[in-house]
């Protein structure tokens, strides 16, 4: 099968799964079976079908030149078409493998907490996965935008699942911010890109993701565009992608914490926020091109803003007593690592490829770590009905597996070896410490990035490790003594142990992950603008 055709297969699977879930709605076991089967099939297709093809050295770069798989052509510049490239593969792999875990976990959680509307729940999950695959394999900005919106809409019922007024209000905040940013900023950016770069009607790439970047090619082919416009568009894109949760558009994430834990895990680790940062990386590389952004030299603000977000979100996290809120702010902070990587890539030169690798690696590392943390939070909620950090005294003795997994994931968040977080921190520091001109001197903004990483390490330790300490080193509270409980249901423990082991395994068996992110570096030699400006 043609490489790009796989992308449609990968999208069709969750859609078929959704149909099956709907059909089996009355028979919970069949329905959950359909979910698991779909997730497994998707993982199989992505990891065994697509990944090997991409990882064959040089294959994908050839395939990249081949025309994308065009599902629907609407009008010039607007087409639903798909193409497989390494960055998308990273995202698709992360999402599909964690979806399987999440499904196992969700079954345990939903049954353990006797939640209602489970068919709708699994259905929306499958539809959301469909859109995730669409985002991952989109070959143009329009397709990405479409599936980005589908993802927002399909996760709304998940966030508002409980149906309480509070849940609905929070879900409305979630929807409101995401839709506002995407419509009022991102879409404006997309339209402007089509107009500014001439678009398909004038023979330019228009909105198609292009090696080196749409703008770069446009400029190098003699196109003309003001630096200020490119800078403005970059701002529109970055803030338009609200899912990346760059401050100050982060508020939806804590609001969405009202959702059941599998959904939180899905939002924070598997799909939604990753869709955001993935899109940021993708537009940086394929729409603008690191060379273009380096040439306009007005993108330092992104690094400053990302650093600000990292530090401030961590500070706020430190003062959250609700465990899931703390994790939510942690996510905001960690996402900005990836945005910062994208920002560093805009410094151009030797920094760009390694910074992009850092972004790709952190997508993987953060996904595994954060899903474990959320699984643990949900496990605690299911077994002990506790939601606050201050209630967790001594809980590690009763739920050793859960809390051990939590501890491992915390270390990964901090970036301590031997966990996946170390790898991405390594790459990120490489990006920050590689000088753009190759001369060994660091600019102010790079120093800033390095210092932010230092601070973030300390702050991460500051809000994660006290939880671990509480769980293992404090005596059980009198209240807890009175309400004995054990570990959470087996599917939950199984899922969170798997992801925790995955966090460590990613460190020891980093072959696949590193090979993948290296494809980014190999495939996108940083090129510079040689005209235009």
């Amino acid at each position: 099968m043609d490489l790009h055709t796989y992308s449609v297969v990968a999208m069709a699977i969750p859609l078929l799964g959704a149909a099956a879930i709907l059909a089996f709605g009355r028979w919970p076991n069949l329905r959950e079976g359909a979910t698991l089967l779909t997730a497994a099939a998707l993982l199989a297709v992505v990891s065994c079908g697509i990944a090997p093809l991409v990882l064959v050295d040089g294959f994908w770069t050839g395939a990249w030149e081949a025309p994308a798989f065009e599902l629907i052509h609407m009008v010039p510049d607007l087409a639903l078409s798909f193409k497989i490239e390494p960055l998308g593969l990273v995202y698709a792999l992360v999402a599909s493998s964690l979806w399987l875990m999440n499904s196992v976990y969700a079954i345990g959680y939903m049954r353990g907490n006797k939640e209602e509307h489970q068919t709708r729940f699994y259905l929306c999950f499958a539809v959301a996965m469909f859109s995730v695959m669409g985002i991952a394999f989109a070959s143009n900005m329009f397709t990405l935008f479409v599936f980005y919106e589908v993802l927002t809409l399909s996760t709304f019922p998940l966030v508002s699942h409980k149906g309480t007024p509070h849940a609905v209000r929070s879900a409305s905040t979630y929807l409101g911010i995401l839709v506002f940013t995407s419509v009022c900023l991102l879409l404006v950016g997309v339209i402007a890109t089509a107009v500014v770069t001439g678009g398909a009607e004038n023979g330019y790439a228009g909105l198609d993701f292009t090696r080196g970047g749409v703008f770069l090619n446009y400029l190098n082919e003699g196109g003309d565009v003001a630096k200020g416009i490119v800078g403005l568009l970059f701002i529109l894109y970055i803030y338009g992608i609200g899912k990346a949760a760059l401050m100050p558009s982060h508020r939806w994430l804590p609001a969405a914490m009202v959702a059941p834990t599998p959904v939180s895990a899905f939002l924070h680790a598997v799909a939604v926020v990753k869709a955001g940062v993935f899109s940021v990386l993708k537009i940086t590389v394929y729409i603008f091109g690191t060379g273009t952004l380096a040439a306009i030299s007005g993108t330092d603000w992104l690094i400053y803003m990302a650093g600000f977000t990292i530090v401030v979100a961590s500070f706020i996290a430190m003062f959250q007593d609700n465990l899931k809120r703390r994790l939510a702010y942690s996510t905001i902070s960690q996402l900005s690592y990836i945005i910062m990587a994208a920002g560093l890539a805009t410094l151009g030169g030797a920094v760009a490829p390694i910074a992009i690798m850092a972004g790709g690696m952190h997508i993987i590392a953060h996904a595994f770590g954060k899903i474990t943390l959320f699984f643990a939070a949900g496990s605690i909620y299911t077994a002990a009905h506790k939601t606050d950090v201050s209630q967790l005294d001594g809980i590690g003795r009763r739920m050793p597996w859960t809390m051990a997994a939590f501890a491992i994931a915390s270390l990964s968040m901090i970036g301590v070896p031997p966990t996946a977080g170390f790898l991405s921190k390594w790459y990120l520091l490489s990006g920050a410490l590689t000088s753009a001109d190759g001369g060994g001197t660091l600019s102010t903004v790079q120093w800033y990035a390095v210092v932010v990483i230092f601070l973030s390490t300390v702050l991460n330790a500051g809000y994660f490790l006290p939880i671990v300490h509480r769980a293992f080193f404090r005596p059980l509270s009198a209240d807890a003594e009175a309400h004995p409980h054990g570990e959470a249901p087996k599917p939950i423990v199984l899922a969170l142990c798997c992801t925790a082991v995955g966090t460590v395994a990613l460190f020891f068996c980093s072959d696949l992950a590193v090979a993948l992110v290296e494809q980014l570096q190999a495939g996108f030699p940083s090129s510079l603008v040689n005209g235009g400006f």
Binding site: H73, V75, L80, L187, I191, V195
Partner: protein, 501 residues
């Protein structure tokens, strides 16, 4: 045969409308009207094909030369609008059987369908004619019958009467403004034929003769047209008229009446005055953009606070008209293409949604938000259609609504007007809010006691609803054909009078 289609397009429904009065009771008037609109629709397709293939078609009544008699000229622009109008007419007519029976006293069905056909006749006539005075005449035909149709909603809600009355007054003012404008133009050009009028006006403008008179004519026409197309702030007649009219009437009117007015405006601005005058000598672009932009925002907010869903859609229509006005006011190809294609897409979407509400009204007797609560499970097909239409209103990608906004957006940036682009997007955001309120009630709300036993609407109604909604989706997905048609129309209009020379 093809030669006389232009005449038949108007004459057929006119005669048929008169005959309807005598068709008797029961389903017969409906069957008759359905047949006629079906034929008209077929003819419009034939015409559109002809125009697309061979360029403009001209038909002179009684073979009088155009400067003396009445000429019907169909080019890419009005061929397209004719297609839209007759399509909507055919579908809503077929749809109307049960809905009308339910809402109109059964002894007046024949009158209803007579008026119905006459309205359609007027709308088609306005579109097809190449004679400015004929425009006025047919406008009066369509308006007067429409007032009556709207008033027929009184059985369900007596507010239909006041709404209709208000429409009568304001519509008449608008019509008289138009008449004044046309009169001035005739006075200085000595012709009523649009092509001739355009040619002579260009000469006059070029020579700087009668410029004040032209200016006044322009002002009267533009204000009259603005009123007819319900441009903010001259929109006051519309919301209540749409809300309290019978369901089928709302479906027809919302999809066609304002669209035809938009067509007229484009025709006058580009085809008769010429874009150099309309957007060059006179700075109407700013005025129109300001009004439309404010209108998009204002009506969006209003729509978000309505409790009657029909009212929500009515206000939403005003916003969508705002987009269309923005599109052509940008005075460039992308913008005008967007306007034209949005005429089609919005007609399909809004028509489909009103029909869906008609289904709800048929089952539940009302269309308030509380009626729609929890209907997602009880009327899944209808509600799915409504939701799909709602996505279109928002301008969600892959729906028809997106295509128009996309082109209008491109046009805005072509004109270098970022602000208006932002306004369009804010308008979409407001659309998200008002659509989402309803959709949330549909799928997540708890059904009211009254609607617990509601079931899916009759198949004929659902199918009609889905024809329109389905077409809007098709136009969103495979939009090349509609955009091509619109782009042709836009090119023609930008070139002056429809390329009829």
């Amino acid at each position: 045969m093809i030669d006389s289609i232009p005449a038949l397009m108007v004459v057929l429904p006119l005669m048929a409308g008169v005959i309807t009065v005598f068709t008797g009771k029961g389903d017969k008037p409906w069957a008759w009207a359905t047949a006629i609109t079906g034929i008209v629709f077929a003819m419009s397709i034939a015409l559109l094909a002809e125009v697309t293939a061979h360029g403009p078609v001209t038909y002179n009544f009684g073979n009088w030369p155009s400067q003396y008699g009445i000429a019907y000229t169909i080019d890419a622009m009005n061929g397209f609008v004719l297609f839209v109008v007759s399509l909507i007419a055919a579908v809503t007519t077929y749809y109307s059987r049960l809905s009308v029976k339910d809402e109109i006293p059964n002894d007046r069905l024949h009158i209803f369908y007579a008026l119905w056909l006459l309205t359609i006749c007027g709308l088609l006539g306005i579109t097809i004619t190449g004679d400015t005075f004929n425009v006025y005449v047919l406008l009066e035909i369509s308006s007067l019958t429409l007032y009556a149709l709207i008033a027929m909603g009184y059985r369900r809600d007596r507010r239909a009467l006041t709404a209709s009355l208000r429409y009568v007054i304001l519509g008449s003012v608008g019509a008289s403004f138009l008449l004044l404008g046309i009169g001035y133009l005739m006075m200085i050009t000595g012709t009523l034929n649009m092509v001739d009028m355009h040619d002579r006006l260009q000469v006059l403008i070029h020579n700087d003769e009668y410029s004040r008179t032209i200016m006044v004519a322009y002002a009267f026409l533009l204000v009259g047209l603005s009123l007819k197309l319900a441009l903010f702030p001259l929109h006051m007649w519309l919301p209540n008229a749409y809300t309290y009219a019978p369901s089928a009437v709302t479906g027809l009117v919302a999809a066609t009446a304002t669209k035809v007015a938009v067509y007229m405006t484009i025709r006058f601005l580009f085809g008769i005055f010429g874009r150099d005058f309309s957007f060059g000598a006179v700075e109407s672009s700013d005025v129109l953009l300001t009004c439309a932009g404010l209108g998009v925002l204002y009506t969006g907010i209003q729509a978000a606070r309505q409790n009657n869903v029909k009212s929500v859609l009515a206000w939403s229509s005003l916003g969508q008209i705002g987009y269309i006005v923005i599109g052509f006011s940008l005075n460039n190809e992308n913008g005008l293409t967007g306007s034209v294609v949005h005429i089609l897409n919005h007609a399909l979407i809004k028509g489909g949604m009103f029909l869906a509400l008609g289904c709800v009204a048929y089952r539940l007797g009302g269309t308030r938000l509380t009626h729609l609560k929890g209907l997602g499970r009880k009327m899944p097909w209808t509600m799915a259609a409504f939701t799909a239409g709602g996505l279109g209103l928002i301008g969600f990608p892959l729906t028809g609504g997106f295509i128009g906004k996309w082109y209008i957006g491109l046009g805005a940036l072509d004109a270098g007007n970022w602000l208006i682009l932002v306004v369009i997007m804010l308008g979409s955001l407001l659309a998200v809010i008002y659509v989402f309120r309803v959709v949330y009630a549909i799928y997540f709300g708890e059904a009211e006691p009254d609607s617990v036993h509601a079931t899916e609407a009759p198949a004929s109604m659902v199918v009609c609803t889905w024809i329109l909604i389905g077409m809007s989706l098709v136009c969103g997905l495979w939009s090349e054909w509609s955009v091509d048609l619109a782009a042709n129309a836009a090119k023609a209009m930008l070139a002056g009078f429809g390329g009829a020379h």
